[in-house]
Symmetry: C2
Subunit: 551 residues, 2 copies
């Protein structure tokens, strides 16, 4: 019986057949609202599939890329491309030109879809995509597009010319789509998802975040960000309404709030910075709106004040955790009755909800120390999070870095997340740091992330980062780099240093306290993260090369 | 990445790891309440697995059978048996001795588990199970058990002697368990489920019947009845509390109602006759209890009065449909917003909820006429329901009847359900009859089930069945067999016949009305269903053999 395959296109077919009248609402790239049904959408998907296979010359296994924001068109491409056996490459247009070019060339993108408003930015870059033969523009353009000899099409023209297409059942192990992860080291790595893993992931979301035909999902997380965390596909399975926001910015939230109100949104998703901005916007409104929403927050720990604040507007935040390598969902914060009974105060309750939570069945995790031994569930001993399961990858596509990031063989292959986490006595996970940023001082662990957050909460600090530096006495000692706010730059440094150490003392024990260096700026990576690698290299002898030999 | 297999034992391992303190409550076969946690249960499962592999000599692929009611022990066996690669055969102890013996011998059950209270009934039957070598008794027994030379063990002794067992990941295509379906023709047919289909089915239940760690599931549907409809495994995935009722009867519901109240039950399942009995019991209580329950009703259409009545006690009934061949779930009644808007009255609402509903993703259905063409979605044209999907079987085990019940090849194999159904304009399915019982009179379809139900609702009728009989003018004509209640047996038959036809006229058009025959009794099959095959044979010339040649 196992020969019946799990196929991505079955998702939209199911919705079109059984929830055909339910809506797919999309704010187009020009800001206009497009209203379609699932039946319309499936018709469009079929038309696009027929054109991909026909005019666009795409064959099974070929790569079809897209540079775009969350619209109905981007959503349609998942089904149209994977349905003909090709692979949909979700290109993060916020990467640097060099990185995007790497993604296009590494995956051999043959046909490229791009949102019209992104054309000016990419006109000079696309010619460096070595394998691209055809470009399809999504959204209205007023002038003729010249792209150094490439053939250019318009999305809606293709839809008009397309015809009915019967998707065959295809091998579930074949790739349906791909994302490239941007690490802090080297070029983005290719993560290829199979039809099977994509469908299983969409099904599993209902175990922890159930939806139904009366729900309305506002998809804020970019689709190119691990398939929008898989949520639009989970919603489609059960016929929930879909709402795509098109182009938007956290500096102009009116269109988003309008969608939430006008489209009866009950489910959404986003990173904490988005939710914080939405919360601030809601607070500025008069009268205050009231929602009945459950939303997923992921990417980093949701601040307690944010969760509390949103709850006052009828928005319940659920913390979920995952990675590109795991489709992404592996952990969700779900409260167990015995844990609820233990939490004594409102503060304890909300802090607990900020944890990454429990694994989603059947994903497996292992948290191990440097010798590969399981760490105790004590809420304080950090270990590296390893993961495996039916929607975790087992290799990076065509990439030697696979050998560093996976271990085991046969069924028994684990992905090394590189995250340092602790597990509390109830099994709830909390991320404390990137493993390589964790500091071991005097035989005890210090979380650089905790310390940075705590430093940055002080009013004089503009930004701060913390690294571990070899130290003859302690093994490692934390070294904090602090950029002061302009108005504090001329103040007495010794006094400020003492003030910051006093501040840290309320949270860290004495032997954990860092050496503080005031700097003008902190080096950053292309994606804006602190570049700790550079700092570690520069300051590796800070506590003395000579002294090291004393040991 | 697809090499990571879906395994049944991962379900209990997950619950033990992440919901270890949550409870598995079981009313033992002697009526005592046993309280375990998921952690305890996994420990017991491991111990039993070690004994199955050791002392009991079970090898991968071997069959291990069970005759028992819903207790923690029966639940444990799914994991212990399938976890070592053997196949758990769920034997329906309500079948006839001949049928049960067939199941044991056809599946080659080597080791047999049996509830102590069932021993007297099966003592003389078990020696006919040709392959059984060892018997394990579940529950307390006071005397020494002699079973014609078979080695006899006690379940709890084995648990005590067992040890830790690490379940390996095993091929998801291997069989984990088997059910035998009892049809009206011939011996029960073997339905073998793979690890993969079992796990997928459990995951999918959350799409339509979500549960969470705060839920408490009372498992009323027998576990031998298609794995208890898969619900305890869906509940385990998310750590819901499990409540097993042990031995009970609809004639003594106090223990069930006590469990519902004492164990904070929020989810349950059962066939309509069970829910009707529970409703009557609740109505007899003073003060009236109030629940917060969602329950699945399946097996046959839930009466509107039953759903309405239960809703007054805080019990929401959800109609689900499936078959042994499909694990079982394929359809669930889920309301779509546009349908809700169309339903004009409370009566319309409840009648609509009695339909079988919409397919559960990614199960596929096809409803075809006798020429294999899709029937229109008009709510009245019946067709045969065909199904396929990742938890539908593609053959009966080692059974020639496979050729009659499946068609297609490769991915494209459909199971022919034998059910005649109609699909309404919104895609909702309603079963109208068994295909072979459907009557085609004057070119239009008449549902024998509808007519029987309508006849049996009349106060003079004790029981009634309807068949189609060849008729020269109409093609077929319905022939109704009516057994009168004792107090009406002496009444004037012509007057009664007129009264019944008048009664039917309010529901059926004139040309659909049957010829009514009053009989003393109706022949039945071994499982108590009307034996229409016998009636059809006896009455095939009722409207005249000669006349048939007139056509």
């Amino acid at each position: 019986m196992d020969d019946y395959p799990l196929n991505v296109h079955a998702i939209i077919r199911h919705a079109a057949l059984y929830f055909g009248e339910n809506e797919v609402v999309s704010r187009d790239v020009d800001g206009n609202i497009i209203r379609l049904t699932y039946r319309d959408t499936y018709d469009r998907v079929q038309r696009m599939a027929s054109m991909l296979e026909g005019e666009l010359g795409v064959r099974p296994g070929d790569r079809v890329g897209a540079l775009g924001v969350n619209t109905h068109r981007y959503y349609e491409l998942y089904y149209a491309v994977s349905g003909i056996g090709a692979v949909f490459v979700e290109m993060n247009f916020r990467l640097s030109p060099i990185e995007i070019t790497h993604v296009a060339n590494h995956s051999k993108v043959k046909v490229l879809f791009i949102d019209a408003p992104l054309l000016p930015q990419f006109k000079s870059i696309i010619p460096q995509f070595k394998h691209v033969e055809k470009v399809i523009v999504m959204g209205k353009v007023n002038e003729t597009i010249e792209l150094s000899g490439l053939k250019v099409y318009h999305y809606e023209d293709l839809i008009k010319s397309g015809s009915k297409y019967d998707f065959p059942l295809i091998d579930e192990k074949s790739a349906c789509c791909a994302c490239y992860t941007s690490g802090t080291t080297g070029m983005p790595k290719g993560v290829y998802y199979s039809h099977r893993s994509f469908v299983l992931h969409a099904m599993a979301i209902h175990q922890v975040f159930p939806m139904n035909p009366s729900d309305s999902l506002l998809q804020l997380v970019p689709l190119y960000h691990v398939n929008g965390w898989g949520m639009p596909f989970a919603a489609t399975i059960v016929g929930s309404k879909l709402v795509f926001p098109g182009m938007w910015s956290i500096n102009d939230l009116k269109p988003i709030i309008d969608l939430m109100i006008n489209e009866g949104v009950t489910r959404s998703n986003g990173v904490p910075s988005v939710w914080i901005s939405i919360l601030n916007y809601l607070r500025s409104m008069n009268p205050k709106p009231r929602f009945n929403m459950k939303v997923v927050s992921g990417g980093s720990e949701p601040p307690v004040a944010m969760m509390r604040g949103l709850s006052e507007f009828g928005i319940e935040v659920i913390h979920a955790y995952g990675s590109t390598e795991t489709s992404p969902l592996t952990h969700v914060y779900v409260i167990k009755p015995e844990v609820l009974n233990k939490l004594r105060s409102d503060d304890e309750y909300w802090s607990h909800r900020a944890k990454q939570g429990l694994p989603v069945f059947p994903m497996e995790r292992k948290v191990v120390d440097e010798y590969g031994r399981d760490v105790p569930w004590d809420g304080k001993t950090p270990g590296e999070l390893l993961e495996r399961g039916p929607w975790a990858i087992r290799e990076y596509f065509n990439d030697k870095r696979t050998f560093d990031s996976f271990y085991g063989e046969g069924f028994d292959i684990w992905w090394k997340s590189g995250n340092a986490v602790v597990i509390d006595e109830d099994g709830y996970m909390k991320i404390v740091d990137r493993l390589k940023d964790l500091i071991k001082s005097g035989g005890e662990w210090v979380s650089s992330v905790d310390m940075e957050n705590y430093l940055m909460a002080h009013p004089v600090v503009y930004e701060a980062t913390v690294i571990g530096v070899p130290n003859p006495r302690w093994g490692e000692r934390p070294l904090a780099f602090v950029v002061l706010k302009p108005e504090y730059k001329d103040k007495n440094k010794d006094a400020l240093r003492k003030e910051l150490l006093d501040h840290l003392s309320s949270r860290f024990v004495k032997w954990q306290l860092p050496e503080i260096l005031f700097v003008e700026s902190i080096p950053k990576t292309s994606t804006g993260k602190f570049d700790k690698k550079v700092l570690r290299e520069q300051y590796k002898d800070y506590f003395g090369k000579e002294k090291n030999s004393e040991i």
